[in-house]
């Protein structure tokens, strides 16, 4: 019995190490290569340590308007998150707290938005954007970003707000507090951790968003980080160390956030999956 358990422990440990390898090796390749010269990659084994590690790849990326892309991403993401948090908390309050005949059907309609593929909206949104004259500007991204973040955010917040005790609101009502008052003074302050969760969840997914940014912007001055990576790749396709430096630098903000706020970030990223 004893030998059997220890054999099993070894198998488990081996599997754990195997996956560790699978998960980590691509990162290792990225980091290792980003410090090499491009000639070095062709003449020496891929796994060799860089002969004399260089920072020129990173400097190139930074001098190539990296901070412009970083700023663009930050602006678009923070404005979108701000709007998503306000709009979805208002809608969630109505669904969780006010009883009326259309409550369930309207909520179901919003939830149905979860399955809509972005691509079915792409052509009309592109046409709308050009017609309104905001094509190739950061404004173009905010509308679709907010709209596609709403269903899951409203869903999570509604679940959250349903758990706040109704007695609190009843007490406030007796004291003459109307629905608006109880939203701002009771429900919203008590939903703070739910709001943080949806903010993190949407921030991570919008930070990495590709399709809308790809279709609705075109010039370097309006590109967000994922698109900057894409453009770089087109520009330096054969300079692999250069590309790896872009990948590493662009991943850094989230990795730093992960190191600092590990638990909260994981909880936020997983929030989208927590159903039923």
């Amino acid at each position: 019995m004893k030998t059997k358990t220890s054999a099993k422990t070894i198998v488990i440990l081996l599997l754990a190490l195997l996956w560790l390898l699978v998960a980590f090796v691509p990162f290792w390749f990225m980091v290792l290569t980003s410090f090499k010269q491009s000639m070095e990659l062709m003449t020496r084994p891929v796994w060799a340590f860089p002969d004399n590690p260089i920072l020129t790849n990173f400097m190139n990326v930074i001098n190539n308007r990296f901070f412009r892309f970083l700023t663009n991403s930050s602006i678009v993401v923070s404005v979108s998150i701000f709007l998503v948090v306000i709009i979805s908390s208002m809608a969630a309050y109505v669904f969780a707290r006010i009883r009326f005949r259309l409550n369930q059907p309207l909520f179901a309609l919003i939830i149905a938005g979860l399955i809509v593929p972005i691509h079915v909206t792409l052509i009309p949104i592109y046409l709308l954007t050009t017609r309104v004259g905001i094509y190739d500007s950061l404004y173009a991204l905010i509308g679709p970003y907010v709209a596609f973040s709403l269903p899951v955010s409203i869903f999570i917040l509604t679940q959250f707000m349903r758990q706040i005790p109704y007695e609190l609101e009843d007490a406030a009502r007796i004291d003459g507090c109307g629905p608006m008052g109880s939203f701002f003074r009771i429900v919203l302050p008590l939903s703070r951790s739910g709001l943080v969760t949806i903010a993190i969840f949407n921030a991570v997914s919008l930070w990495n968003e590709f399709v809308f940014a790809f279709v609705l912007t075109s010039s370097p001055s309006t590109r967000t980080l994922p698109l900057a990576i894409w453009d770089f790749q087109g520009q330096y396709a054969s300079d692999i160390p250069q590309i790896m430096a872009v990948l590493l630098l662009s991943a850094l903000p989230l990795i730093i956030a992960y190191v600092i706020f590990q638990e909260q970030l994981v909880k936020g990223i997983m929030a989208g999956a927590i159903k039923g």
Partner: protein, 313 residues
């Protein structure tokens, strides 16, 4: 003012309540308005407009659209590339379900049984979720590179030269190479999802099962697995719908090539609308994608819902 003086207290309560009712109705409308405005403009209207455009021929620039009737839809029905894309989408669905969920579950069980000792593993396992899909796609494009990539280099190093491949340019295996990357990206997600529900199972349950003579295997199959039912269904649904909508990774790695070997509904739609400027036909492909996702979601959702009710009842 004079009227209120003569009101009975009961009438006053009624007016009071009516005022309240109105206030709630006004709040409901005001608070829902922004959400429905955004969803209407950027989700609902575009879906309808896509269907409308699917009946026209249009290059996206001309002021005039040519009405075609159902010609685009007939063309779609006969379009071999489109059906290939649908097939590829469903291959991704099935392989994702078959590979991601079991490995995700196995890793979750492993981390759960290891407790705190494994927290380092957890940190590393989670890393792929922090990279954008574009970054993952480009990273793996170079990992798969036949000359400078690490896969062929490693195979040669350990004497398995025979296994080296042109991973992304061989039409026979390109799709599977890409699916392997999809698995790499999403397995950690399902792992964390399962881990969350595993840690919700009380430890007493395991003790009780062992006291009753259950083996570890038995405990897993007849107690843990049924308790995970909810999260397995969630994971399967997410994986299913996500796989049908797939775009970013494939676009970055292969753009649907070589010769449509990795074409998906979404990449095909993008090419038609934005590379060859057939907006009408692109809209047709987009609408078809929407129909496929909707039908699949409904076919999965309703039987599951019924089953859920059976269990609850």
């Amino acid at each position: 003012m004079a009227a209120t003086l003569h009101d009975s207290s009961e009438a006053r309560v009624v007016t009071h309540r009516r005022r309240r009712f109105n206030e709630y109705a006004v709040t409901a409308v005001l608070f829902l308005l922004p959400a429905f405005a955004f969803l209407g403009v950027f989700v609902l209207w575009p879906i309808i407009d896509s269907f409308r455009l699917s009946f026209y021929k249009w290059n996206g620039v001309d002021p005039d659209l040519t009405f075609l009737g159902v010609d685009n839809w007939v063309r779609l029905a006969k379009d071999g590339v489109f059906w290939r894309a649908v097939r590829n989408n469903f291959i991704i669905v099935f392989l994702s379900l078959l590979v991601q969920l079991p490995i995700g579950l196995a890793l979750a069980v492993l981390l759960d049984s290891g407790g705190r000792k494994f927290s380092f593993f957890k940190v590393i396992y989670f890393l792929p979720l922090l990279l954008s899909t574009v970054a993952i796609g480009i990273l793996f494009k170079y990992i798969y590179d036949p000359y400078f990539g690490i896969i062929n280099a490693t195979l040669e190093r350990i004497g398995l030269d025979a296994l080296t491949q042109e991973w992304l340019s061989n039409p026979k295996i390109a799709l599977y190479s890409v699916i392997a990357v999809i698995c790499w990206q999403y397995i950690p997600f399902y792992m964390v999802l399962f881990l969350a529900s595993l840690s919700g199972i009380p430890a007493e349950l395991r003790e009780a099962a062992y006291i009753d003579g259950a083996t570890e295997n038995k405990y897993f199959w007849s107690i843990v697995l049924p308790l995970l039912r909810g999260s397995i269904i969630t994971a399967a649904t997410l994986s299913l719908i996500g796989s049908l909508k797939y775009f970013d990774l494939i676009w970055v790695m292969t753009e649907g090539g070589p010769v449509n070997a990795t074409e998906l509904m979404a990449t095909y739609m993008y090419k038609k609308a934005f590379s060859s400027f057939e907006m009408g036909y692109g809209a047709t492909v987009a609408s078809a994608l929407f129909i496929v996702v909707l039908v699949t979601a409904l076919t999965v959702y309703f039987p599951l819902q019924r089953q859920e009710e059976d269990i609850a009842g």
